[in-house]
């Protein structure tokens, strides 16, 4: 990751975000979305959050592995920034989902494997944050939090992919026997927004992580200067 050198990255991100935010609301919907009605537009704000979270947490996981391989402190900073970004994305996904659920199901929380799985997953990552806060020694904190990160990611995946598959029923769109996006999307014009939205949101949160990592490295540099001055 490092400093994102290319200004085109930022320009593309901003353009994609503008496109998603504007055209996601303007897009003519397929005529037969049933009770989902206009709330199906949440597809462009809620669903990309989860896709992006998966991608970002996966990247954080890989950076953690690289850190344990070569003990390069830079890698751990990237892993941490990406993980925090992923958690933020997960929370955004959770809140957009709850908002949607409140309007569609009539309650922000239902007993659904996907919702419960994500809630537990966020608790796992809260543990990551707690570990970061509770070890004072820098090298040890980096090592133990990387180990924890490597340990929880497979369990998190098991929780949000395998568990909903096992559950017999789910009222969440796109799982179990409930309606999914594909059954509505006969003309596939929604994909024209969905995929740019996924890419755009992911790029935005990677950008946030990158800024965070740069601040962190700057702080570390300052500390080292103070130490050796």
């Amino acid at each position: 990751m490092g400093k994102i050198p290319n200004k085109w990255y930022k320009i593309v991100t901003i353009l994609l975000m503008c496109y998603t935010l504007a055209y996601g609301l303007l897009l003519p919907l397929p005529s037969d979305v049933g009770m989902l009605d206009e709330t199906i537009r949440n597809l462009f704000y809620h669903v990309p959050m989860w896709f992006g979270m998966m991608i970002i947490l996966m990247a954080a996981w890989i950076y953690s592995i690289i850190y344990l391989q070569n003990q390069n402190a830079k890698m751990e900073i990237y892993a941490r920034a990406l993980t925090y970004s992923g958690i933020l994305m997960g929370l955004c996904g959770l809140f957009t989902g709850m908002f949607w659920g409140y309007n569609t199901w009539g309650s922000p929380w239902t007993n659904d494997p996907k919702l419960n799985g994500v809630a537990v997953g966020m608790c796992m990552y809260a543990g990551y944050w707690l570990i970061q806060r509770s070890i004072s020694d820098d090298e040890k904190r980096a090592r133990i939090s990387s180990v924890y990160n490597i340990f929880i990611f497979p369990l998190f995946i098991a929780l949000i992919f395998v568990m909903p598959k096992l559950a017999k029923f789910s009222i969440h769109p796109g799982s179990g026997e409930s309606v999914n996006f594909k059954s509505y999307n006969k003309t596939s014009n929604m994909e024209m927004v969905l995929y740019p939205a996924v890419i755009g949101w992911t790029m935005l949160f990677v950008w946030i992580a990158e800024i965070r990592a740069r601040i962190e490295r700057y702080k570390q540099q300052k500390n080292n200067e103070k130490l050796f001055a």
């Binding site: 344990l68 537990v120 997953g121 608790c123 796992m124 809260a126 543990g127 707690l130 570990i131 509770s134 070890i135 004072s136 040890k140 090592r143 133990i144 990387s146 180990v147 924890y148 490597i150 340990f151 929880i152 497979p154 369990l155 098991a158 929780l159 395998v162 568990m163 096992l166």
Partner: protein, 216 residues
């Protein structure tokens, strides 16, 4: 292999020598089951599996994870000279697995004595308890070794541990419910297989990661 054997034996002997730890967990289980009985005297089949697992995870956490939590820095160094981290973890996993069996069986006995036997398929339920207990005790072991390295192990232990056991616990709970209702072994075999796979995943992850946790 023999070093693992000896270490397991050593852990179990230490456990047996200081009987207070083992017996305090057993008393803990007993009082927890008694509380469930006082709160809900007429327990039926639908609730049994859920109550059983809640009691088991909350009472065994301390008993299983105390090994790492109470270990001082000097102890880590001492063990490091004697045995490789992987061997140590394997020995600890085996010892904790045996402890978990004791706790599980004890909890099951107390449950059936106090609440009466509501389980239709006892053999399957015990098999599930065994496989799920393996997963839970391995996660307790590994996450307690992580928590032991933080500055506040006692505070962080439950927070780091309970979310991690949820995937295994949920599968065990569902399979357990089927066994309680007596739906037959064939219906719960796929879940049993999945739990076994999770167990293997957890142990393999622990073996890969332990040498990074141990380094001081």
């Amino acid at each position: 292999m023999s070093s693992i054997n000896h270490t397991v034996k050593f852990f179990l002997q230490a456990e047996w020598k200081s009987k207070f730890a083992l017996s305090s967990v057993l008393v803990h289980i007993f009082i927890a089951v008694l509380i469930t009985y006082l709160c809900l005297p007429g327990m039926d089949q639908a609730l049994f599996s859920a109550f059983f697992w809640i009691v088991v995870i909350f009472t065994t956490l301390q008993g299983i994870s105390k090994a790492f939590i109470q270990m001082h820095k000097g102890h880590f160094l001492y063990w490091h000279q004697l045995i490789s981290p992987v061997d140590f973890l394997l020995a600890k996993l085996i010892a904790n697995f045996l402890l978990m069996i004791v706790f599980n069986v004890f909890a099951l006995i107390v449950f059936t004595v106090i609440h009466g036997n509501v389980i239709d398929d006892m053999g399957s339920f015990m098999l599930i308890a065994l496989v799920t207990g393996t997963g839970i005790s391995s996660i307790f072991t590994i996450s307690s070794s992580i928590a032991a390295k933080t500055d506040h192990p006692g505070m962080l232990l439950p927070v780091l541990t309970f979310p991690l056991i949820v995937p295994v616990l949920l599968m065990g709970l569902n399979a357990g419910k089927k066994a309680v209702d007596g739906l037959g072994f064939r219906t719960l075999a796929p879940e049993l297989l999945l739990i076994l796979l999770m167990d293997i995943l957890i142990v393999v992850l622990g073996i890969i990661l332990i040498k990074f946790i141990w380094k001081d």
